[in-house]
Each structure stands twice: as C-alpha cells, then as structure tokens.
Symmetry: C2
C-alpha cells in the first residue's frame, strides 16, 4: 500500500485555510480564531498529519535534538546515565543522538562534525579526561560535560561528582573499621577521575596518621579489563607476601576483582581483609559478600546536566548558570567492611 505523506499545504487545502494558518495552529503561536483552530486540528488528526521535522529544522535552524557523546555504552554506570538523560529529554520533546566513541578521538571528532551538520541544539559529553574538539563546530551551541575537562573553555559547562571526597570517605571507612595497611587499586591515567579518588585516599591516610606505602598502590594497565586486572594484581600482591588488611578498589569492578583474588587464596572478607568499591553498580550488590561502596548519584548528575543544557538552549544569554557543579557522594555500607 502506497502511503501518502501529507504536507502543511495539503492540510491547508483540506481545511480551506492558508498554510500560514495551519502553521500557526500547529505551533499555537500566531493569532487564529478558536473555530479555525478546531477545524484544522480535526483535519490533522483525521489524516494523521505529522510535521516534517527536516523542513522545520531547516527553517528555524533548530532540530529539537541533542547529541550525547559517550565513551562506551557497555558500561553499566554510563548506561544508567545515558538512560536517564534520554528520559529527561524525551519528556521535554527532544530526541537524543547517542554517540559511542569507544574512547576513539577520530570517532569523537567525526561525531562532533556530524552532530553539527545535523543541527543539534546542544551536546552532552560523558567524557573524562580529554579535551573536546569543539573547534570543529560551526555553530555556537551549548555543551555540558559530566566530568572534568581542561578549563579554558567558557562554552563548556561541567557537572561532576566529588570524586576526591568519595576517595576520602572510602578510605576513612576502612580506617575506622581498623585497617592499617590499605591498598588502592587504580588505573594509570594522568588527569582523571582516578587521580582525584587517589588524592582523596592520600588525604584520608594523612588525616589519620597512617603512612603512605607505594607498594600498596596497585596499578592496572590501560589495556587490561578492570576485573581481570584487579584480580591479577591482587594475586601478585599476595604472592609477594606484601601484607595488607584493606583494599580500596577505585571502582566496583576493581574491588570485586580483588575479592575474587582474595577468596581464591582463602582469605576471608571482611575478617581478614576489608574491601570498598566505588560507583554502587550492580556487581557491588550481588557480590559475595556484598560490597561497601561509594554511591555516585547518577540521577542527580543526569538531571543536573540535562537541565543545565536545556536552560542554555532555551536562553543562551543566561549567565546565572553555574559553569561547574560538583555533586556530593555518600557511602553505602555492606558486608565487605563489617566488623564481627
């Protein structure tokens, strides 16, 4: 069956009005009589007319679409954020282009160009460390990042978690539960979320008069999987007879990797070693034993980032919007740090 796509002109003819009137009715802006409005709306409903968004976008130079750039969709934490951002914009009648860069710079640049060409009204980046290629953009559109980006950019707004504080609280929990020699498992990246969590760890040690021991810093290489890397590194530590009684995994997968390693060596958690993770994703809840962890409020991050972008899109001149928002974290206590 051939489908006939109706245009505004068709509706105008059917309703015996001009296309301008139909447009006014659709957008509820211009002035038109109640009677005309009713008539047009009826025809629209009857014939199942839908606005051609490409034409509309061309005309008004807006697309009611945003771009969401993410390093990976297959990461539960990102997925949760993506899902909530998408839900938010759906409610506000925006569509979302989800762009998966796989941490590939080329792909990221390509996506920026493509989003620009598709006339998105704004961009949210769930990034981390890298500098955004905003110079490829040919239009001035607002950008919100959910993690730290090198300052300098006045056009870029940031909504992020207090990773430093998270690292601090996580470490403090272990100290309070009696741990004296606390390992930290981190990934080896320069400026990043990891580094901030690490700094929080250092400060907590210092504040509680515990020495920092470089041997207890467990590095995972950038190629390694979090779980496998943490497991491997923890096993190595045990085999090297390096003594420790607490582990701060800088994310839940790293902490869980440590747990599995410890158990394979017949070390008991929390009796022999206590463990804390970060992120509060599923694995922390279903781990055996369940994992004490630092909760990042994804919902708040998603909503704040989304709202910030929406505000900027609706009113680009608004200068009451904060450039940097740092959101609080809290600890979720579970069995992995319990004392008997």
């Amino acid at each position: 069956m051939e489908k006939k796509k109706l245009s505004i002109i068709d509706i105008a003819h059917l309703a015996n009005v001009s296309q301008a009137t139909v447009s006014r009715v659709i957008n509820k802006n211009g002035r038109f009589s109640e009677k005309t409005g009713k008539k047009v709306e009826e025809i629209i409903k009857k014939y199942g007319y839908e606005t051609n968004m490409t034409a509309k976008s061309l005309r008004i130079a807006k697309s009611k679409t945003i771009g969401l750039i993410v390093p990976s969709i297959e990461n539960e934490w990102f997925a949760s954020l993506i899902s909530q951002i998408e839900t938010y914009f759906f409610q506000h009648n925006y569509s979302v282009f989800i762009c998966n860069t796989s941490r590939n710079k080329e792909k990221e640049i390509s996506y920026f160009k493509s989003l620009d060409a598709k006339m998105v009204d704004g961009i949210i980046c769930i990034t981390g460390e890298n500098k955004l290629p905003i110079d490829v953009l040919t239009r001035d559109i607002p950008i919100v990042c959910t993690d730290r980006v090198p300052a300098k950019n006045n056009n870029v707004y940031i909504v992020s978690t207090d990773h430093y504080r998270g690292g601090y609280i996580a470490t403090k929990e272990l100290i309070k539960k009696g741990c004296k020699r606390i390992c930290i498992i981190v990934r080896n990246r320069s400026i990043s979320v990891n580094e901030q969590r690490f700094q929080g760890y250092l400060q907590a040690l210092k504040d509680h008069h515990l020495p920092y021991d470089d041997q207890l810093k467990i590095l995972i290489s950038n190629k390694e999987d979090n779980f496998e890397g943490a497991k491997r590194a923890t096993l190595k530590l045990i085999e090297n007879h390096i003594h420790f009684d607490g582990i701060f995994g800088t994310n839940d997968w790293r902490a869980y990797g440590a747990i599995v390693a410890l158990q394979s060596k017949y070390l008991r958690i929390p009796e022999d070693v206590k463990v804390v993770g970060f992120d509060n994703i599923t694995i922390s809840k279903v781990s055996q034993p369940p994992l004490t962890t630092i909760n990042q409020d994804t919902q708040k991050i998603a909503v704040n980032a989304s709202k910030t972008l929406l505000d900027l899109m609706n009113n680009p001149a608004n200068n009451t919007i904060k450039h940097i928002q740092t959101l609080p974290v809290h600890i979720v206590k579970r069995k992995s740090t319990e004392n008997k």
Copy 2:
C-alpha cells in the same frame, strides 16, 4: 566569537563557480573537471564547510539516519547489541537515534512517530514480544527486528537467535553431567524468548526420558528483578524440601541468583547442584564458580540485522532478502557444570 555558518553558495562564490558545481564536487556525482574539483575541495577544507544535513535531508527525503528502538539500555546484553549496531552504521556513514522505550507502549508509539517525522531511513527494533505500531508511520521505510514479532507484517524483517535450541542444549548439558531433577527458572510471559527456551528444555527432558515435574518450574513475576527473583524462588524451593540436582536459569542473572541462594544454604556447585545460564554476559564469567552458559552471538545478530536494514534501505525492491534469519547458539562450558 561569532561563528559564521557557510553555505554552499558561499563556497560557490569563494571558488568562482556555481552552487551546482559545488554540490557535484561534494557528492562526487555529476561531471566536473579535475581542476574545479580540486579548487572547490580546497576552499571547503580551508573554510571548514560542513553540509547542512537538514537541508539535504529535506531535499532528498533521506536523512542518513536510522532509529534503534530498545526496551532498555541498562541491560548488558542489549547494550552490547546497541553498541555493535551503532558501530556498524557509523562505518557506513549513518547516525543512529537510540530510543529507550522502557517497555512502555506509549513511549514506543511516540518514538515511532518522532522517528518518522525526523525522516529516518529505517528502523531496527530490539524488541521481544510486542506487536509494532508500524501503522503510525506515514512513510514506507524498512524495519528489522531482532526478535520474534507476530507474523503478518511483510514490511518487518526478523533476525533472531535460536532460543529453542539454546534451551535444549542447556538442558542436555545438565543431563549429560548426570542431573536427574532439573529446575528451570523462567519469567512468566506469554509469547516470548522465555517460552522458546522453556520448550527446548521440555524437549530435552523428553528426548532423554526424564519426566517433567511442574514443581521444578520456578516462575519469577514480571515485577521482580531477575537476580533477586531467582534467588528468592530458589530459596523457597530449598526450604520446601523439593529435591533437585540441576538448575537451568533462562538467563545469566537468574542462574546467578540461584547460585547465591544455593551457596547461602551451603549447597556446593557443581558438586551438589549444577547450574547453567543463558546469554554469556559478564556475570557468567565472574560468578563464583563461573557459570556454564549458552552464548548468543551478539555480533552476528548485530551485523546481520544492520546489514539487512542497509540492504533494504539501498534497494527497497530487493526481494532476495530473507524475512527471517535464525542464528545458531553454542554452549560455553565453565565450572558450574563440571564433574569431579
């Protein structure tokens, strides 16, 4: 700094040619001299011109964009599929609208309309059981589903896994390893993937002369979380003193829930009870013990679905394309079904 968006006309002036020529160069179709081509391309690069896709879409009634409708992005299996589909289309110069329906019918309809209005060239649905609202579409665009949909629709193509065979193989593995009383954990839905896996289970029992016992069918309600539901239901079974020596969890989370329940009652896996899952997602690998499971080839599903859609978009009249593709599964054997 005010950014000036250049149009084809601007480039035409700068290059001293007509806009038609610029268009020809950009699209490498029409005829133009090598010299002109070079000149125009230089100007384009120099001034950072990017095609305005809304104008192009309007003109050619195509958008180089597809819609990807998914019930949930926060499900590892879906996320993996999404990611691979997105990668495929990125390579072929298409953008992807990822639409998260949260299994909400209203949202799904709304997305179909919106995708239609945005002139997507095709749609992939990662669905499952429900009938698609393709009647809201005003244009004839190809649709590919990665799961079963009620037949009837000639416009809808299907790429799916052989869930029946998966259920069969999973059950057979348990039988081969000596299990006599095998539980199955399923969700209570009418026509679905679950049902097919269940049918495979039944057939395997029958083929090996084992009776089917209704007591061993563990139902999880639709509101319950897979992990929690399976855990709760398994505990109940144990507390009711119903004897069993094998469990087929119809997905990995259900199987893992069963494992945790068994362990909490000091039942050993695989010595006392053997367990098989389905999907081969991360939890099956990191479970203690690691879980034997049925692998669904996400890559193949993603590629076949994507390729099918691409073929249909490039050549809508192509009738050599199979309406239904069923992909094979295979078992991944791990410790949870090992014999001493």
